[in-house]
Amino acid sequence: MAGNIKIRAKNSNGVTTVKSLMSHEMETGLRKDKKTGEPIPAHFIQEVTAKWNDQVVMTALWSGGVSKNPYLSFKFNGGAAGDKIEITWVDNKGESETGTAEIS
């Protein structure tokens, strides 16, 4: 269920672009199991926090409307090669995962 977070971060002309791919089913809670007709319980990422060297650059609040295995890209001013990027998500069941990468 919970996989790893893939992160790519690149600095160009003083702006760092981060691209990340998370592994999560992003179940809205509105779907029904085709065989049993039972609703499939909601299970989706609610909050994603992105840090650059321990400074929060962006916090994303999500619903189940974000696609399965979410892709997220954002940019910030600053950053240099070797700086740490850390992305953490927390889902509605309280599970969480953190991934890190260095800016290239």
Partner: protein, 157 residues
């Protein structure tokens, strides 16, 4: 190539049924783990209510400074790439909504002081509708909308 197209088709029909069933089935009832997760806004049934709950206002002003990049036609409503970018200074947050979804608010991105007003992600869309982006600034809410046609069956019609 043929096989790749077939995959798209399969995914397309699955995605549509997923979101389509969602419309009738009831409410999101996540056990709110995060205290600051704006539950009411995410459960709101229309864009005005969602904005009111999320940002305390729905007085948006359409602005050229908010740019949405999304496909004109999305073959797969389960995966619609959306990029929102803005040139305004002092942007505090970017919110993305799909007007046709049963709960339109999809995501809200709070920008830190170093953040550039730019986000790119992939969203689910239940039906052909506007994708709405709202950028929160000190002087008010700026918005833009982009219609996206969601095809059922994925043959590009």
């Amino acid at each position: 190539m043929i096989d790749a197209k077939r995959r798209t088709l399969l995914k397309g029909s699955l995605g549509v049924s997923a979101v389509g069933v969602a419309v009738g089935a009831g409410l999101l009832t996540p056990s709110a783990v995060l205290a600051n997760w704006p539950k009411a806004a995410f459960e709101a049934k229309d864009t005005e209510a969602a904005l009111n709950d999320l940002l305390g206002s729905n007085a948006t002003e359409t602005s050229d400074e908010v740019k949405i990049k999304a496909p004109d036609i999305a073959e797969n409503g389960a995966v619609v790439p959306v990029t929102v970018e803005s040139g305004v200074s002092g942007a505090k947050s970017i919110s993305i909504m799909a007007a046709g979804n049963s709960t339109p608010l999809i995501a809200s991105f709070e920008l830190g002081e170093n953040a550039v007003p730019f986000v790119s992600t992939r969203i689910k869309m239940a039906e052909t509708a506007d994708v709405i982006a709202v950028v929160q600034t000190d002087s008010g809410l700026l918005s833009a909308a982009k219609p996206v046609k969601v095809t059922i069956g994925g043959c590009g019609g």
